[in-house]
């Protein structure tokens, strides 16, 4: 067992009238891609802010790199992408990158070639001398992403890294995260988009209302919360398929997406019987497959539509939970 690079030990954070994070514990081992998942208002950002020492926990503690210092003491080894992005709008792109690298203890001379490399890699070379405000939102995001990684941190904390990215840039982001892991870095990121988490994470932690619901490797989460699943896709007509889905002798739970559906088998039911019943119902099938459940489904099952509702965010203090 390797020493965790990040330990969050029973932290609690309360804001006027509500508890954003409630006795949450996490442990991240080096080299992991760790997903902090949860609906809006679950406490993801508050947790990350406490890890970064921007907020001080009311109870509990955060330990980084097995030491006693705060995130600021290790700022050269941590890359942090906050949920609310922002750069100096009037500064030139390259100058912003060099300045932010400097604040993390990298001197300008060695930061410069790295910044140029990154700009090249993300297709921003021609923009390096332009003002940040001249860039599109997506390009600004990329610049901010570069600033998070320029100083080659060992631990990277990304708060909603995919928010606001178009599919192409989201793909670039995904590649970059995977590349970081190949270089032995540890990545912790928060998201409420399960598809992304499922593609990237090897460890997931699902929280809701400030409490932890699941904390395990992706494989084991799927095993334990999986049950037996069938994915059915329709070729135009559903026929009487909904009646089959409602048959509790065959199907324990069905998530109907219209064009396709995810079914959880009832105990002792046989998938072949469902197939027969569906064919009998007049539905035209384009796919019938025994699958592991998607993380999305596990998430919805666990959190429930009710808890998935975003909580009202009080306006006092930095409480974007």
């Amino acid at each position: 067992m390797t020493t965790p690079i990040l330990v969050v030990d029973r932290v609690t954070k309360r804001f006027a009238g509500h508890t954003a994070v409630d006795g949450l514990s996490l442990s991240v081992i080096p080299g992991a891609i760790y997903g902090l998942l949860g609906p809006n208002g679950a406490g993801k950002t508050t947790t990350i802010r406490m890890i970064m020492n921007i907020l001080v926990p009311d109870e509990g503690s955060v330990q980084l790199f097995g030491g006693t210092g705060t995130a600021r003491d290790y700022s050269g080894r941590i890359g942090f992408l906050p949920e609310e992005r922002g750069l100096y709008p009037k500064m030139r792109v390259l100058d912003v990158l060099l300045f932010l690298a400097e604040t993390k203890g990298v001197d300008r001379r060695s930061a410069r070639p790295k910044a140029l490399d990154w700009l090249e890699r993300l297709g921003l070379t021609d923009w390096r001398m332009r003002k940040v405000s001249d860039l599109s939102k997506g390009m600004q995001q990329k610049v901010q992403f570069i600033s998070t990684l320029l100083h080659e941190p060992d631990l990277v904390l990304l708060d909603e890294p995919f928010a606001g990215l178009d599919p192409v840039n989201a793909e670039v982001m995904r590649e970059t995260v995977l590349d970081l892991r190949r270089h032995g870095k540890t990545i912790v990121f928060s998201t409420h988009i399960m598809e992304q988490a499922e593609k990237l994470c090897d460890h997931v932690c699902i929280i809701a209302k400030g409490k932890k619901l699941i904390d395990d490797t992706l494989g084991r989460v799927k095993e334990t919360h999986g049950g037996r699943h069938v994915t059915v896709a329709f070729d135009g007509t559903q026929g009487n398929a909904p009646q089959v889905f409602a048959d509790r002798r065959l199907v324990a739970k069905a998530t109907d997406f219209g064009q396709y559906a995810e079914l959880e088998l009832a105990p002792n039911a046989d998938a072949q019987d469902i197939l027969k019943a569906l064919v009998g119902s007049g539905a035209r099938l384009s796919r019938f497959e025994l699958t592991a459940p998607s993380l999305h489904k596990i998430f919805i099952d666990l959190v429930g539509p009710a808890a998935a509702r975003p909580e009202a965010v009080p306006n006092q203090g930095a409480v974007h939970a």
Partner: protein, 418 residues
């Protein structure tokens, strides 16, 4: 410390790169040049008045008046003997703007000191005073001569008084006169006030920018808030010093070329209220010391104001108490100039919030004991330390806070909380 340097560097470079900085760098000397040249231009603005002296006196009085007026260079007089219809035709001339006015002299000038000046504009103090003084000299002389006094004695008695004022600084008599002392004090107060306000507000908007763009979250995860505030204040302070250097150099050039420029314009270097004071090394040192002190004191307050506001509008409101304190310090200048040694003046030059303007003004207006300056500077330093400490505590909490502005009670709690 390297991180603080990075912040200082950013503030400095980004500010010096702005157009605003260079506009100020150019406008400063233009403003300065205006103060040097405008008085000369204004003194000529009225131009030379063309008037006619309607001479109804016997003897040489009329000719003497014309001669005396001629010598003032402000009036260009002609002499006409009085007669029927003269006044009417002259009135028409004035109405047609071919003439500025006319002066009616009769024997009454010497007898009872009466004369009449009719003109399209009788509110020009300069013209009125010029005519009055010329007339009174001549009338006095005529009266004395009529009473049998020897004309040579009269001439002797009428030698002009030239009161030379020289400021004693330390125990040395300087070449500086009253007008120069006044303009030096006045300049210093204006520049100190404007610079502290301008650069203080600069610090405030810089804090606000980082807060509203949320980049502050990234910054405070690698720098202590105090380091960030310190870097900001020092960076903007360095910009202001750089601005002063530019101004200082251009002002020096301007002054050294002044007589040449004035000569080229064909202007007379006369009649100016604002004379160029001799700026000694001590004066420059006092100015810089109090500017830096005042800037450090006020800019940390402005930093706190920026930190508790979440947009420009809120900041404009929240900065009012700070601005007000500065305005008081500036306004006090007028009381100080009247009597730099008064109890009020001494008090204001010791209170840290007013001393950055009050003390340099008192220094310029008259010399001060070194002990008083040391005490005032000492108090200023103590205030800077205290105010910066308080401001940094407000700043630390404020920059990460969103939503409504905190109340005074909350601010007190932030300062108290460890």
């Amino acid at each position: 410390m390297r991180k603080v340097l990075a912040v200082i560097r950013r503030e400095f470079v980004e500010r010096v790169r702005t157009k605003m900085f260079w506009v100020m760098a150019v406008l400063g000397p233009v403003f300065f040049a205006a103060l040097v040249f405008l008085p000369i231009l204004f003194s000529r603005a009225g131009g030379v008045k063309r008037i006619v002296v309607v001479d109804g006196t016997a003897g040489a009085i009329g000719a003497q008046v014309v001669d005396a007026l001629q010598r003032t260079k402000f009036v260009n007089p002609d002499r006409i003997a009085t007669g029927p219809g003269v006044v009417d035709s002259l009135t028409r001339e004035v109405g047609a703007k071919r003439l500025d006015g006319f002066l009616i002299l009769t024997e009454a000038l010497v007898d009872s000191g009466k004369a009449e000046y009719r003109a399209s504009n009788v509110s020009s103090f300069a013209t009125n005073a010029t005519i009055e003084s010329a007339l009174s000299r001549i009338a006095n002389a005529a009266r004395l001569e009529r009473a049998g006094v020897n004309p040579a004695v009269v001439a002797q008695a009428q030698i002009r008084i030239d009161l030379a004022t020289k400021k004693i600084s330390g125990s040395k008599t300087t070449g500086e006169n009253a007008a120069q002392s006044f303009s030096l004090a006045y300049f210093m107060a204006i520049i100190l006030y404007m610079a502290i306000l301008l650069y203080g507000v600069n610090v405030m908007s810089s804090v606000l920018e980082e807060k509203t763009t949320r980049i502050v979250e990234v910054l405070v995860s690698s720098l202590r808030p105090f380091e960030l505030m310190l870097g900001k204040v020092l960076g903007v302070g360095a910009v202001s010093l750089f601005q002063f250097v530019i101004w200082g150099v251009s002002a020096r050039l301007l002054i050294s070329q002044r007589s040449r420029l004035v000569g080229q314009q064909g202007l007379q270097d006369a009649g100016q209220v604002f004379q160029i004071p001799a700026v000694t090394l001590e004066t420059a040192a006092i100015f810089i010391a109090y500017f830096l002190g005042g800037f450090l004191l006020y800019s940390s307050m402005y930093a706190a104001v920026g930190a508790i506001s979440s947009n420009e509008q809120e900041a404009r409101q929240a900065q009012q108490p700070v601005n007000f304190t500065l305005v008081i310090a500036f306004m006090a200048m007028f009381a100080l100039l009247n009597d730099p040694g008064s109890k009020l003046a001494v008090t204001l030059s010791l209170i840290p919030f007013t001393s950055p303007i009050a003390m340099p003004v008192r220094w310029a207006a008259g010399s001060l004991p070194a002990r008083e300056i040391a005490l005032s500077l000492g108090l200023l330093v103590i205030a800077i330390v205290l105010v910066t400490w308080m401001a940094s505590r407000i700043y630390r909490v404020g920059i990460l806070m969103t939503g409504k502005r905190p109340s005074i009670r909350e601010l007190v709690r932030w300062v108290r909380a460890g």
